[in-house]
Structure formats: structure tokens, C-alpha cells
């Protein structure tokens, strides 16, 4: 396979994958492009490479910066802003884990705690409801703790842990 085809395929794949770690296609594609680019890219560069509009590029770059996985840089003597992504994939994973915990798991835990607190009036319905929402709360809590481990340890924790578990 040629570099050009491989690059397109990678960007395409990463883009459709995005929708399932909770970000849109353009955002994931911009990220993919920056990840494999040896040099920072300008907004124009991104627009041209991905054939997307200026507004779209601007908004999605901002979101990537919000997620903490893309950074603004400037080139000496140039007015234009350049963008580059976190290049260390372990650090990338940590950052994503951190954001997903904050954006998704924490709010869910809050709701689960709240709803599982209703008074048990003795009916099968409320008994089952309380039992199941409590069980989900516990599960989500465990998942979150594991994510936080990933976030707070050195960046190759994931690999180390896995190796340890194999023994």
C-alpha cells in the first residue's frame, strides 16, 4: 500500500471510530491527521487535507484543545497559529480516560445514587429498582476507579498492569 492510501485509510478509520468514543467525525479526523503529522499544521492545512470548511475546522480544533489532546503552537516570526497533537499514545489514552470519567461516569454515578435512594415501599417494583440501580452504581464506581488508576499513574501503567496480570 502507498503512503497516501494508508494515510487516507487511517484518517477514515479513526474518523468513524470517533463516533463511538463520543466525538464527531471531523473532530476525530483532525486528530488523526495531527497525530501522524511530523510538523504542526495550520488551520488552512487542515482544511485542505480534509476538505472541510473553516468554521468546522475552527470549532473542532477548539474542542480537541478542550479535551486536552491538541495544542496550539506558534512558529517564530509567523502570525498564524499552528496545531499539534499529543504524540505519546499512552498519554493520549490517559487524557481520554480522564475526560470520559469526568464527562460521563461522574454524572451517571450521581443519578444512580439519587434514584437508588427512593423509599422501599415493599412492592416488587421498588425492590427490583433499588437492587438494580444499586448494582449499577457499584459497577460504574469500580469502572471509574480503574479509569482513575490509569489517569493517575505513570503513563505505561496500562501495559505494566496487563503484563502483571498475565503472570
Amino acid at each position: 500500500m502507498e503512503y497516501k492510501d494508508a494515510k487516507d485509510k487511517f484518517i477514515q478509520t479513526w474518523g468513524s471510530l470517533g463516533s463511538l468514543w463520543g466525538i464527531n467525525k471531523a473532530m476525530a479526523q483532525i486528530h488523526a491527521l495531527l497525530l501522524i503529522s511530523p510538523e504542526p499544521l495550520s488551520m488552512e492545512d487542515v482544511m485542505e487535507e480534509l476538505h472541510i470548511s473553516r468554521g468546522n475546522t475552527s470549532m473542532n480544533l477548539r474542542q480537541l484543545i478542550d479535551w486536552g489532546i491538541v495544542f496550539k503552537t506558534s512558529k517564530a516570526g509567523e502570525r498564524k497559529e499552528y496545531f499539534t497533537s499529543e504524540k505519546d499514545v499512552n498519554e493520549l489514552a490517559r487524557q481520554i480516560a480522564r475526560e470520559r470519567s469526568r464527562r460521563e461516569i461522574q454524572p451517571t454515578l450521581k443519578v444512580l445514587k439519587e434514584v437508588s435512594n427512593i423509599e422501599d415501599n415493599g412492592t416488587a417494583e421498588t425492590k427490583e429498582f433499588i437492587k438494580q440501580t444499586k448494582a449499577l452504581h457499584e459497577l460504574a464506581d469500580t469502572a471509574d476507579s480503574i479509569l482513575n488508576r490509569v489517569v493517575n499513574q505513570e503513563s505505561n501503567w496500562l501495559t505494566k498492569t496487563f503484563i502483571k496480570l498475565l503472570k
Copy 2:
């Protein structure tokens, strides 16, 4: 909070959460409803509770069955089909982990392996591309192995592992 409110809130929350573990709102809401229902429900029951159409209910129930987290049951002497969900949340987590590995991670690994295999022609571009896609492949591989652990062990592996890690 009243049972009714808590129930609505739970179904609502689970529904919007669905979009981020890769299933649509109706599908997640049906799952939530079955999860907290002490008795199996008919298609009519689900339609009424969630105010969704027959077609929608039918299609989403089928998908939930495909995912392996909802089952058809029949009541003695009744023609109608009833549906019930996997009630053990650990088993639920295992099943979801299994499906996500199969549907998402495996195909991604395949593409990453393929594209990282281009010939290094010595340019900065191909060097960076190969380096980064290989690193992603390794990361995804580790993540997948961990998921498979979850899938293949007894259902409270997750909890046990976590407790062990705390020590």
C-alpha cells in the same frame, strides 16, 4: 423522590448514555426498562411505557437480543412473546465488553496493522506515520487483551482485580 420519577429519570439517563456505548436511545431505554422490571414485558408493555411505535420496539428488541443482553421468554398458555434482560450487571458488563471487542477493537486492529505495514521510504512523513500507527496498534491490543480478560473470567473479576490493585 417518588418511584415513578426515579424510574423515569433512570430510563432517561440510561437512554442518553446509550449513545456513548454505541447504541441508540430507544434501544438503551428498552434495556433500562427491562433491567428494572421484576417480570418479563411484552412488546405492548414496552410500547406503552416508553411511548414508542411497534416497529421501533420490534427492531430495537431484536438488536438487544443480538447483543446478547435481552432474551425472549414465553408465558405458559400465552401466545405473546415476553422479553427480559440479563439481570446480573457483571454478566451484562462482560457481554458488552465481548461485543465491543468484536465489533470495534478487532476491526480497528486489522486496519492499524495493515496501514502500519507500508514501506518506510525514509521521509519524515512515513517515519512518523509508521511509528504512530504501530504505537496505536500496541495500545489497542493491550486494551483488547484486558477486555478479553474481563470476558473470560468469572463475572466478578473486575471487582476482584480492582481490590487486588488497591493493596
